[in-house]
Amino acid sequence: MENWYWMTLVVLIGLTVRWTVSLNPYSGAGKPPMFGDYEAQRHWQEITFNLPVKDWYFNSSDNNLQYWGLDYPPLTAYHSLLCAYVAEFINPDWVALHTSRGYESQAHKLFMRTTVLVADLFIYIPAVLLYCYSLKEISPKRKMAVALCILLYPGLILIDYGHFQYNSVSLGFALWGVLGVSYDWDLLGSLAFCLALNYKQMELYHSLPFFCFLLGKCFKKGLKGKGFVLLMKIACTVLASFLLCWLPFFTEREHALQVLRRLFPVDRGLFEDKVANIWCSVNVFLKIKEILPRHIQLAISFCLTFLSLLPACIKLTLQPSSKGFRFTLVSCALSFFLFSFQVHEKSILLVSLPVCLVLNEIPFMSTWFLLVSTFSMLPLLLKDELLMPSVVTVMAFLVVCVTSFPLCESTSEEQLQLTPFAVSVRRRLPGFTFLPRIIQYLFLSSVITMVLLTILSVTLNPPQKLPDLFSVLVCSVSCINFIFFLVYFNIVIVWDSKNGRNRKKIK
């Protein structure tokens, strides 16, 4: 009874914050001719509603791909179609072919915001609640605190309800996948993850840990007996769900290929705009985009991504565990974000989701990361005039985290999960006891830098010669933070099993 009502309160607070943020402007509000992501989503409704399936991804007189052409997998298109039916029911002008381009009105905004809220309410929020409810070995109050923190994560709220996107759908499906796989409902888990993958191709960031974890499970059961059966079952599930999603596009070979070309626009370059990843930061000193030919850029980014996620993935395959799985999700997504090709600033949400899942284990580092991740999107949020809700939601998130977890007391080696690492370093360097202290100082300096940079970019006009000065600074600072986190998470993952052995030895 009591848990039930705390959970209701948590959901209500989450929903209230979401809806109040949604009263703010969306991306590209009143900015013709291209508008922004809001118009993109509306345009997809228009396209999917008025054109036959076979024309969705092709350039035609009715479908100008230069103007927000559909570049997400089929599930997004189906979702747009579904929304379009509702829109057509309310007001046919909203999805009329050609004439509805750039349509904006208060009622339409309300409708679009509602579609996000509904999707969130049915996919993401239940997954978060179920995840927190099934956490082991903690009190019900703490479970609710974790749920509240996850639901109030400002990055996702600001992008979905401020900027306007449907990230909660793909992230929600991915979370259902994590839930399924962690609690041995492997088939349902893989089905949910396939849905996520078919909603947004960026979910590929999460795919390797899923693959390795499931493969590791099969190895564990023995590849000649039960493990093989499981592997086959999973493979069939994945194939079947992909087939189902892509069914209308398999009529012609060319058709499926065109969809793939739309999903992976290799010719768009190493990076666009300002992203807090390696390439954009290195670009400040070295114009890689101009120095190296396209295919070498692709090769380099592929190699670096692969190398950086290799240790964690090998580890997970050899010793599959639910905790290791979540940590690997973080490190893999982060590697992808930092090193891969054509990354968007919003893709950091794909890292934030698994970080939310380890909030209970390492509250200090997770809170820190989630703050940095929101900060890394500052240029985008400022462009959308979302300064006020950003500051408020970030502060609300911080307040909730600080009251839920005793953050300042959780910087010991034990709580940072760094004990095994510190122990093994101390074998060589006996004086290595200052790690928590260093991390506290790093945290302080990182927070101060973020606050200062936010104030600077809000109050000052950048010098004429360097119009992007502040956004580049924001990206570089966030990038440095992210590299630190990548190292940290890899250390935790790699040293993790030794931890287990050490414990046994001590016992």
Binding site: E2, L12, W19, T20, L110, K141, M388, V392
Partner: protein, 526 residues
Amino acid sequence: MAAFTLAASGDHWFSALALGVTLLKCLLIPTYHSTDFEVHRNWLAITHSLPISQWYYEATSEWTLDYPPFFAWFEYALSHIAKYFDQEMLNIHNLNYFSSRTLLFQRFSVILTDALFFYAVHECCKCIDGKKTSKELTEKPKFILSVLLLWNFGLLIVDHIHFQYNGFLSGLMLLSIARLFQKRHMEGAFLFAVLLHFKHIYLYVAPAYGIYLLRSYCFTASKPDGTVRWDSFSFVRVISLGLIVFLVSALSLGPFIALNQMPQVFSRLFPFKRGLCHAYWAPNFWALYNALDKALSVIGLELKFLDPNQIPRASMTSGLVQQFQHTVLPSVSPLATLICTLIAILPSVFCLWFKPQGPRGFLRCLVLCALSSFMFGWHVHEKAILLAILPMSILSVEKAGDATIFLILTTTGHYSLFPLLFTAPELPIKILLMLLFTVYSISSLKTLFRKEKPLFNWMETVYLLGLGPLEVCCEFIFPLTSWKLKYPFIPLLLTSVYCAVGITYAWARLYVSVLTGCFVSKTKKQ
């Protein structure tokens, strides 16, 4: 780290609650605001650009200054900060002026003055007796009370969406109550006198203050049976109390007496020319009376007792005209409402005099005064229910019986505020916030009093659950029906009558509990 350590120590939960609700208020900045926003902007302009002698005469805008002088001075003080935001909002001829900086300034002025409310709530929490507190923080009466007050749904939507300054005014009232609890009577009286000169609606609860201070402060002792000992009367205390009230009033009204403007000021403060009920009927006795009248006239027409030609048109086409004309029942005059109010208040005041039960008895009487005037007052606004809800919160965490009354009163009272926000984007906000507050208040008080008998009987449960279908009918189903154009007032009428039942019930129950408390202990003594 310093901030973190601070937050982690001692009362950090209170700061977290206060900070949390402040952030929520900041998120509400872009929401809809009513004409009261323009009212207060106009007052800023009046006080800023005109000499005092003109304040109560200025009538460029229809929203003339109709609050007492302290509030005018408050606007005057605010206007000196406002000029750094946007000079244009201080021009009295800029009717309906709006800019994003004006919005920010006005919204933040409400949010920041709420600091006084936070302090008052903090003081109130100290007055709760914490004998039977559980170890769990969230089950402590103090914690529950601070959530009930800080996160009060009514204050949130009336102040931070609709736009008014009830937060710091309620803060003054709660603070003066807390001072009376702490036996700092002079301070309490001073604060209340100041409050009266901020907003005269608090006159409704003045009888409780007057009688309590006279009985329990000016008479220093009682006979063993609880009746007053006339010889214990302290002249010093009466004179010092009188002096405080006199000085505060002199400070506030003095300039206007000197300017010989008192009749004008009073005509602005007490506009009896308005109708019996506000545009939307506040859920009180008169709402039931009007509804009965309407029902009788409809029945009369059906059964041919009434002549259709003699019925005033206005009363049949809409319930929303300011001057509601009764067809069957006698019309109500301001004097009649005044007499009704006085009669309704009297028993509670008598109780306070003959059977003083310390500050708690005073608080009960105060709530009864507020509720009685809400029930029978002339041109009552639905927002006035907050006057009873906030002090009632303090009672609710101490006794299970009071908790029941509080829950019925707040849930219906808060629901009756729904018509204040009628725009589509605010619909989810009001429903979500209302659910948040109601779910919290009901479940936390249930947990607090879980050892006693259930808080609601089946009738009360059904009534409260009925609010759900009512909301669905009024705001989701009704707009889709063809009646929307023909009878646009039906949702408002339903809401106000339905809520009037609950509030009348809560009022009656509270009265019964106070009177029985009064008589039972008397007979016991005998």
